[in-house]
C-alpha cells in the first residue's frame, strides 16, 4: 500500500490542469503492483516482469487523460446529498451536506445542530426527498451516520480513498448556501490541498474535539451548508469530508479544511460497531439523550431547557417526563439553559442519582431518572 501511494503521489505531481490524472487502468495496475508486496515471495524474474509491466502501464496511463472535470463532477455529485433539519436562526443554518457511504442509504455527515431534529430531510441528486434517521454519532471526529430508506444508491467506497498529498488537485462538492434547491445539483469548487496538518480550531469558545491531521484547502469551503460535503480527486475518488465552520485557534481565520477519508472510514466503522470514543472531554457535558431525555435543539446562546420529547421505555419515560416540561434544576442546582443541564449532568459521576425539577402547567414537579449511565461509547439518536 505504501509503495502504491508513493508511486501515485509522484504521478499526480505531473498532472496538468483539472483534467489531469490517471485512468482506471492505472489504478488497477497500481493496485496490483502494491498487492504484490504483500504476497509470498515469487521467482525474481516474475516479480521483475510484474513490476516492469505495472510501471509501463502507470507511465502510459498518466499520458492518457482521465475523466473530464465535468464527468468527474457529474459522477461524484450523485453520491452527495443535501440535508435539511433544525436551525434557521442567524448564524446557525438549517442545512448541510452529506455523502452516501452505502448503497442502502447510509449517509455520513458532520455532527451538528442541523441534526438536532426529529425531522431530518435528505435530498438526493435526482431531487428525491427522503426522511433520514440518525443511526449514531462519533463525538470525537464529530461525525454522524444517518440512514434513509432506499436501495441501489451510488455510494463512495470509503476504503478506496484516493491518494492525497500537498498539491493534490481537488474538487469540493457541497450544498453551500443552500443554493441548489429541489433537483439542482450540489455546487462544485476546485482547489488544491495546501497543507496536511493537525486541526487546531474552535467554534465560539469551544475547541474542536478532533485534533488529528486534516487537509487544508486553498479554496473557500468554510461556507454555510458546506459541512459534510465531499472532497474528491480529479478521478472522483473520495479524499475527505468538508469540515464544520471553524476558526483557527492560532489566527482566528475561518478554516477551509476536510477530514481525511481514512478518518471517515474509522468513524464509520466505530459507529457501526458501537465503539466510538467519547469526545476528549473538554466540555464536561453529558448528553441527556442517554437517559432518554430529548431537549429542544440548542440553537441559542441560552436555549431554555424545554423537553422536546421522551424516548419510549427510557429512564426519562419511566420517570414520567413529558414534552414541554421546563427543566429548572438538576439535583439542587438551578439551571437556565440547555448547556447548563448538560454541564450539571456531566458533573455527576456515573451511577449518581439523576434528579430533575421541572415546571409543568405552572407547578414544580420533581422526577427521578435513576442512576446516571456511565460515559458510554455511543450516543443513540433521538
Amino acid at each position: 500500500m505504501t509503495a502504491n501511494r508513493l508511486l501515485e503521489n509522484n504521478a499526480s505531481g505531473n498532472d496538468s490542469g483539472l483534467g489531469g490524472g490517471k485512468s482506471l487502468v492505472a489504478r488497477a495496475a497500481a493496485a496490483q503492483c502494491s498487492s504484490s508486496v504483500c504476497r509470498p515471495p515469487r521467482p525474481r524474474c516474475l516479480k521483475f516482469l510484474t513490476s516492469c509491466l505495472a510501471l509501463v502501464v502507470v507511465w502510459g496511463a498518466t499520458v492518457l487523460a482521465a475523466g473530464s472535470p465535468q464527468e468527474t463532477i457529474s459522477a461524484a455529485a450523485r453520491k452527495v446529498v443535501k440535508l435539511y433539519g433544525a436551525g434557521g436562526v442567524r448564524g446557525l443554518e438549517s442545512y448541510q451536506s452529506g455523502i452516501l457511504v452505502s448503497p442502502d442509504g447510509g449517509i455520513l455527515t458532520v455532527m451538528s445542530t442541523v441534526l438536532d431534529s426529529d425531522e431530518i430531510d435528505c435530498v438526493l441528486d435526482d431531487g428525491s426527498r427522503h426522511r433520514a434517521t440518525l443511526k449514531g454519532v462519533d463525538p470525537r471526529r464529530e461525525l454522524a451516520l444517518l440512514s434513509i430508506d432506499a436501495t441501489d444508491l451510488p455510494a463512495f467506497a470509503l476504503e478506496i480513498g484516493g491518494p492525497a498529498a500537498v498539491g493534490t488537485r481537488v474538487i469540493a462538492l457541497s450544498n453551500l448556501f443552500g443554493v441548489a434547491v429541489g433537483d439542482e445539483r450540489v455546487s462544485a469548487q476546485r482547489g488544491v490541498i495546501s497543507a496536511i496538518v493537525p486541526l487546531e480550531a474552535r467554534r465560539g469558545v469551544a475547541e474542536a474535539p478532533f485534533s488529528g491531521d486534516v487537509y487544508v484547502l486553498d479554496c473557500t469551503t468554510s461556507n454555510p451548508g458546506s459541512p459534510g460535503g465531499a472532497l474528491v480527486d480529479s478521478e472522483g475518488r473520495l479524499l475527505g469530508m468538508l469540515g464544520k465552520e471553524l476558526r483557527s485557534t492560532a489566527s482566528g481565520i475561518w478554516l477551509n479544511y476536510a477530514l481525511p477519508a481514512a478518518e471517515l472510514e474509522r468513524g464509520y466503522r466505530d459507529i457501526l460497531a458501537g465503539t466510538t470514543a467519547p469526545p476528549a472531554d473538554r466540555t464536561g457535558r453529558f448528553d441527556p439523550r442517554r437517559c432518554g431525555l430529548i431537549l429542544v435543539p440548542d440553537l441559542l446562546d441560552r436555549t431554555p431547557p424545554f423537553v422536546e420529547g421522551v424516548a419510549p421505555d427510557s429512564a426519562a419515560d419511566r420517570a414520567g417526563l413529558q414534552p414541554d416540561d421546563l427543566v429548572i434544576a438538576v439535583g439542587a442546582r438551578a439551571v437556565s439553559s440547555r448547556a447548563a443541564v448538560e454541564r450539571e449532568l456531566g458533573g455527576l459521576a456515573s451511577g449518581d442519582p439523576v434528579k430533575l425539577s421541572v415546571v409543568r402547567d405552572g407547578r414544580i414537579v420533581d422526577v427521578d431518572l435513576g442512576p446516571r449511565p456511565p460515559d458510554a461509547k455511543t450516543v443513540e439518536g433521538p
Binding site: 505504501t2 509503495a3 501511494r5 508513493l6 508511486l7 509522484n10 504521478a11 505531481g13 505531473n14 496538468s16 490542469g17 483539472l18 503492483c33 508486496v37 525474481r44 516479480k47 521483475f48 513490476s51 510501471l55 502507470v58 473530464s68 472535470p69 465535468q70 464527468e71 468527474t72 463532477i73 457529474s74 455529485a77 448564524g91 431531487g127 426527498r129 474538487i171 453551500l176 448556501f177 443554493v179 441548489a180 434547491v181 429541489g182 433537483d183 439542482e184 445539483r185 450540489v186 455546487s187 462544485a188 469548487q189 476546485r190 479554496c219 473557500t220 469551503t221 461556507n223 454555510p224 465552520e245 475561518w254
Partner: protein, 553 residues
Amino acid sequence: MITRGRAFRCRRAGWLLAVVSLTVGLRPFSALAEVDPAVLQAEARRIEVIRSASRCAVAIFAGESGGGSGVLVSPDGYALTNFHVVQPAGPTMRCGLDDGRLYDAVLVGLDPTGDVALIRLLGRDDFPFATPADSDLVQPGDFCFAAGNPFLLATDLKPSISAGIVSGVHRYQFPAGTILEYADCLQVDAAINPGNSGGGLFDAAGRLIGVNGRASFEKRGRVNVGVGYAISANQLRNFLGMLRGGRLVDHATLGATVSSSVDGRVLVSDILESSDAWRRGLRYDDEIVALAGRPVRTVNAFKNVLGTLPAGWKVPVAYRRDGRRHEAIVRLAAVHSAADLAALVAREMESRPGFVNFQFNTVERDRVARSIAASRPAAATGPWELAGTLAAGGRFRMQLADEEAVIDLPTGTTRIDPLGDLAADAGPPGSGGLLAALAIWRRVVQSGPAALAGTTYWGTAPRNPRDLVDAAAVELVDVLEVAVAGVTAHVAVAADGTVTHVDFWMDAEGEPCEVSFGPPDADDPRGLPTRIDVARGGEPFGTFLVEPAEETP
C-alpha cells in the same frame, strides 16, 4: 515523519524501491528538460483567449458613487452591464477600455428586474466585442474566467482576470430585499468581488457565457467566498433587442402561479382569468411539463425559465391534464406596471414612460425601416389587390388602398377607412380586425414606419415560439409597435426586411388578430406572399392561398 516511515518500509520491499526511486528521480527531471509542446500550446492559447476577452472588458466609473464593469457586445459600442452599476451613474458615464483610453458612454436600455443595463460607448465603430455562446450548454466543471474591475482596481483601465470552474447551472437567486431577480443563472468559483458586477464571464474559448452580477457573502464581509453568480448569455440574448430599443424592459409572468404537489409534480395553484394562459385553456391543477421549450420538473425550474423571458413574448406551454398532454402558445404578461417600473429607476431620465432613452428607439426603428425599404420591390407601391382561394373552400379578394380597404369573403364583404378610426370595425366578423391588420401591414411596408405616427421599435421576439425548444435554432426577428387611434399592432420584420407577422389588438384586454405571412411569391413582382394564415384566440380564422397577380397594378 510519516513519509520517512513509509520509505523505511519500502526499503524492505527491496526491488520495488529501486523502481520507485527511478520514477521519483526521472520524472521531474525529464519535465524540467522539456515541456510537452501540447502544454505550451494550451498555455499560449489561454493567454490569447484572455487577452482577447480583456479587450472587450469595460471599466465603468460612476464618479463618487462607485462603478463596476461591463462587456462590449457590438463593434458600434453597445456594452452590457448591471442595472445596479449604472443606477448611481445616471444617463451618462465614463468608461475605460484595455487600450488605456477613456470613452464617454450613454445609457441605452434598462432591465431593472433582471439587473441588466445596456450602455453605448461613443466615438468608434470598431470596438472589440465579445461573441456570445449558448449558455444552456454550459455544465458544472467547465473552465471559466471573469474579466472586470474588482474593487475598482483598474486605475490603468486594464481588467483583472479571475479564473475558476462553473460550480452550478440553472440556479435561482431570490430577489433578496430588492427586485433584482437572478433566474437560471450560472454559479462559478472564479473570484467575483464588488466591482466585478456587470463584467463578462467567458468560457475556455473566450466566448461570453454570462454577465457577473452577484455573489453569496456571509461571515467574512463583502469579499469573494468562491460563490459568484452570472446572468446567462441566453437570458441576455432574449432581452437585447428591447434594450437596444432604449426601453425600460419588464420581465414576464404567465398569469398563473404554480406549486409542487405531494408527488413532486408542478401544478397550477392559481390563475388569472384575464390571462392569456387561461384563454389558451390552462386551468387550476393542470400539471406544467414544459415552458418555452424547457422541461419543468420543479417550481424552481418554472421560475428559472420564466425569469429569462421578456414580457410580451409568445412561448409554448406544455401541460398535462387527466393523463393527456396539451400544448398552447401563450403570450406572457408584464410583471410590473409601467409606472411601477419607472419608479424603480431611481433617476428620471426618460421623456416617455416605458423608455430609458427614446433616442435609441428612433435609431432602431429607422434601422428596421431602412431594411424594409431595401427589400421592397419597386412594384409594391400603390394599391394592393390580392385574390385566391381559402383553404377551407371558396374564394377571397382583398383590395388594400389608401382611401379604402375591402375584403370579399364567401361570408360577406367588409370595408374600412385605413386612415380613419381603426377601432371602429373589427371585421371581417370573428377575425378580431384582420382588415385593419392588413392595412397596417401595407402601410408599414410601403411608407416605412417613420411615416406612421406612433410607431416605435418594440424589440425582438422569436419568429416561431416553438423554436424555443432549441436555443441554437431560435431566430429572433425585429418587432415594430404601431399604436394609432386606440389600436396596437406588433409588426415582425425578418432580417431580410420582409414582414413575417402582424398581431393586431382592437383593445388592450382583447384577443389579438394574429396574421402570419408566408414567403414572398417569386412570381409576384410586388413580392407579396403566397399564403396568409390568420388566427385569433389560438383558433385558426382562415388560410388565404394567394394567386400571383395577373398584371402589375
